[in-house]
């Protein structure tokens, strides 16, 4: 099957989604957030559709999702499958609705108490088209840390997935998405929707390292006094296309968005940071901050960086954004070499210093080590 061949008339039972898709149309290379990703060859390609069967869940200390189906989970987590989950009706991404349209059973994790959770996602089906959705909802006032790891074996395949996160009042959720992809012909488009209710906080760390083609589209909404702190690192090499796009809407007063992106690209890799921060009229006294910086390690690498803001209120406490793309500071590199540090090691020190703020904020040495290992890999 081809994604472009999907016949909307066959999905009469999901009328609202069909209507939404009809009004938006299918994504094309001219669709703003897919403009630099090369969506056409992915949508145009023939895949073998794969719908994972529901199976018994083995008890484990982490959640494991293999090709879109939960295979392991801790006993303390309530897992169910939803046939008709509530869908974000203002998402900007058509793929979000296509994804929901094609999925019969959405995986739902209900988080009821403070916890640290690991979700291991395995992508194993070569040549397959695998759509699935994961819904996470929290109880009010809890503090949760989720680390998502990706293990990729699937080649020539397309995985469409995404999180629908409902963050209850006063809750804190930190989602660390560690996406290391070592296969050039693996493609993934993920559309996420995060609703932050009053006084809640969503902390997002995304690490996109590798050579694949992946795009993650995030629609985040913030109610009164809610906050999101989003931090992104892209390290792309060879012919990778790695990107993240965002619509983050400050809807309630005193809401806060802080977004920080650092990108390192080498070879012919392409990185995408396309972030729109929106302050709606009721979101008085909100603060938005967006900062994207990129280092291109050689001439063939390319970064699309589009920090944007739309503000519909006169009363805003901060609105700052900026973007720079450049090469490693030659004078700094020479300074280190003049002290006897070899050129490649000096470059690595400068690259790490560039990413230091995000690694420091996360406080996780494991991700830093993974980055160093990947950076040090020589062709």
């Amino acid at each position: 099957m081809r994604i472009l061949d999907i016949n909307l008339e066959e999905y009469g039972a999901k009328k609202a989604l069909v209507q939404k898709l009809k009004s938006m149309g299918m994504p094309t290379p001219k669709t703003e957030h897919y403009r630099y990703f090369g969506i056409r060859p992915i949508l145009d390609k023939e895949y073998i559709p794969y719908s994972p069967p529901i199976q018994s869940i083995e008890e484990a200390d982490h959640i494991e999702i293999v090709d879109g189906m939960v295979t392991k989970a801790p006993k303390s987590i309530f897992v169910e499958f939803l046939t008709n989950p509530k869908v974000d009706d203002s998402h900007y991404d058509q793929i979000y609705y296509i994804n929901h349209l094609l999925v019969d059973k959405t995986i739902h994790f209900e988080l009821e108490k403070d916890m640290e959770l690991t979700i291991v996602q395995k992508f194993t089906k070569t040549g397959a088209f695998v759509p699935y959705r994961i819904k996470i909802s929290t109880q009010p006032g809890i503090n949760v840390k989720i680390e998502e790891e990706c293990i990729v074996y699937a080649e020539e395949s397309l995985y469409l997935y995404g999180y629908d996160i409902d963050l209850a009042k006063d809750a804190i959720l930190q989602l660390l998405q560690n996406r290391v992809t070592g296969l050039e012909n693996f493609a993934q488009i993920a559309s996420h929707s995060v609703r932050c209710n009053k006084n809640s906080e969503f902390r997002l760390f995304t690490f996109d390292f590798g050579v694949a083609k992946t795009l993650h589209n995030y629609h985040i909404t913030l109610e009164e006094n809610a906050a999101t702190n989003a931090n992104h690192v892209i390290f792309g090499k060879e012919k990778a296309k790695l990107g993240n796009t965002f619509h983050i809407e400050n809807r309630g007063k005193d809401s806060r968005t802080h977004q920080f992106s650092r990108n390192i690209l080498k070879d012919k890799a392409r990185g995408i940071f396309d972030g729109l921060l929106i302050v709606k009229n009721p979101a008085k006294y909100s603060a938005i901050y967006q900062d994207s910086k990129t280092i291109l390690l050689n001439d063939g690498a390319f970064m699309v960086s589009k920090p944007q803001m739309e503000i519909y209120t006169e009363y805003i406490s901060e609105a700052t954004h900026g973007s720079t793309t450049g090469q490693l500071d030659e004078e700094a590199l020479f300074y280190l070499r003049q002290r006897g540090i070899a050129k490649e090691q000096a470059k690595e020190m400068l690259v790490l210093s560039f990413l230091d703020e995000i690694f420091e904020k996360l406080g996780d040495e494991k991700i830093k080590k993974e980055f160093i290992e990947l950076y040090e890999e020589r062709e």
Partner: protein
């Protein structure tokens, strides 16, 4: 007296601009050589050529250091062989911890010399001893390299690096610029302590003041990319009185 470095007929350019037009210079082991000259004479380009700065292209001539032709060597190879430059404007590198940087540099040198690396505790002991001698604040070693340092602190940090790395050939590129009199004294004292029969200093300066504190053995005057005059401290006295024009007809 043995030669530390011999520069012969050195021509060098930055971009398309020819700056050094045949420098001949012999720098002796254990001696302090002052390099003076008006703006644009080629003093900084000469120091950059010696340390292998990528902006400088040597088009003719040679730099022989400890009997090895280093003209085409990489900057780090020259540094590991003992060439050190204290920069006029040390760069700030946010995110690179000062102590971590120094330990990396020292261990690179120790590896080059066939010595085992110093572990963090051994290095910290050495570092603390040196910063105490220099009268530096200890918190500076835990900060990012040169970030937010005052002009004087940056220069002291250069001297700290010199003391840790113990080079054989030291270029001090306008180390006196931007220093108040107390800081200049402190830096000069530290440099004088480092003077040994095996170490050569090349001091690039516009002003006499630093040479009152660090007495040079030789003074070389550069102009238009050539060495116009070599002599002793009397040259500095003459320059003070008459300016660089007195050497124009030499």
């Amino acid at each position: 007296m043995s030669t530390m470095m011999k520069i012969k007929d050195l021509h060098a350019q930055i971009g398309d601009k020819q700056i050094l037009k045949g420098i001949d210079l012999e720098l002796l082991k254990g001696k302090v050589h002052a390099i003076m000259g008006p703006n644009g004479a080629g003093k900084s380009t000469l120091s950059k050529a010696i340390v292998g700065h990528p902006d400088v292209e040597v088009t003719k001539g040679t730099i022989v250091y400890k009997d090895k032709d280093i003209t085409d060597w990489e900057p780090e190879e020259r540094a590991l062989e003992g060439i050190f430059m204290a920069f006029q404007h040390p760069v700030e590198i946010p995110g690179v911890n000062n102590a971590y940087f120094l330990r990396t540099a020292l261990n690179a040198k120790r590896k080059h010399l066939g010595l085992p690396p110093l572990n963090a505790a051994e290095f910290l002991r050495l570092l603390k001893e040196k910063i105490k001698e220099l009268g530096m604040r200890e918190e500076m070693i835990h900060r990012s390299l040169n970030e937010g340092f005052s002009g004087g602190e940056k220069k002291l940090n250069e001297i700290l690096q010199m003391e840790i790395l113990e080079p054989d050939f030291v270029i001090l590129d306008e180390i006196d610029s931007g220093l108040d009199i107390d800081a200049l004294k402190k830096v000069s004292e530290a440099i004088n302590k480092m003077r040994t029969p095996d170490r050569t200093f090349m001091i690039i300066t516009h002003y006499r003041k630093i040479l009152d504190y660090i007495e040079p053995d030789f003074v070389h005057v550069l102009k238009n990319g050539k060495v116009l005059k070599t002599g002793g401290i009397e040259i500095v006295d003459a320059l003070e009185k008459e300016g660089y024009k007195i050497f124009e007809e030499v």
